[in-house]
Amino acid sequence: MSSVAETAVHEEKHSDVIGAKMGMWLFLFTELLLFGGMFILYAAYRAKHQHEFFLSSAELNMPIGTLNTALLLTSSLTVALSIEALRRGSRNLSKLFLLATIVMGFGFLVNKYFEWSAKIHHGIYPNSPELLKASAGEQLFFSLYYVMTGLHGLHVLVGVLVLGWIYTLIQKNPTDPGNFIKLENGGLYWHLVDVIWIFLFPLFYLIS
């Protein structure tokens, strides 16, 4: 009964579903070009200071970076599974996967916190006395590191909040067919954050 009603509403809103998704993709493009500009900056400075970039990269914690990569990839899987579960009508399973995604997103941020704290503890942060003594290339590397992983971390935080909000929507109003497109778009955002990390990881951690 409810599934018939859902199908009817779904059909009626079909063009809206495509439109909502397209709107989300357009937003994601602005995000891609925002990070894209930073990647171009990175590429230009790296071309000028290749050796210093190699040296600085060796100071980053590669195991934590790898762990965070695996965490984000796995959280991308769980959000995709959550959408698929909701599509099939298994709301509890969908919520479980969504919760797992949120927990992994938090895990990513906790790792980032420890990583940044260790760096700051060693006196490596923008404008630190230690870094000011280093070469221009190293200063540029760590400035880019903090800005780009910082902005990315902010996106992870926003993603966690958005997915948490969608979780409460599914919790409060389980039969609302509008939940699905919200979850799908939230998932798109989450995957984009994953894609950006897929490039950040090798460019910062793996060039030593």
């Binding site: 199908t7 590429a43 991308s76 599974l81 894609v195 490039f199 460019l203 060039i207």
Partner: protein, 95 residues
Amino acid sequence: MEHHQAEHSVGYGTYVLVWLGLLVFTGLTVSVSGINLEALTVTVALLIAGFKTFLVMNYFMHLKFEPILFRLMVFVVIITFAIFLSLTFLDVLFR
């Protein structure tokens, strides 16, 4: 249209396979970084990252199952980015 919608559905198994592929390529990019390939290092890292992105966008983000317009839009963004990147490097490399 509803049939079309049903075709969009990707099985749980496909997602798990894509995830395994992504983990394998992450392992690959980490182990390759230990080998000194000189100028090729970046190329290999970017190729692997590019392929991982292809997997995430096509399967996790469903691009493969969306109308062609979505893929065209992504294509335009990639071309735009490539133009900005190459114009910047015309300056950086030949200054």
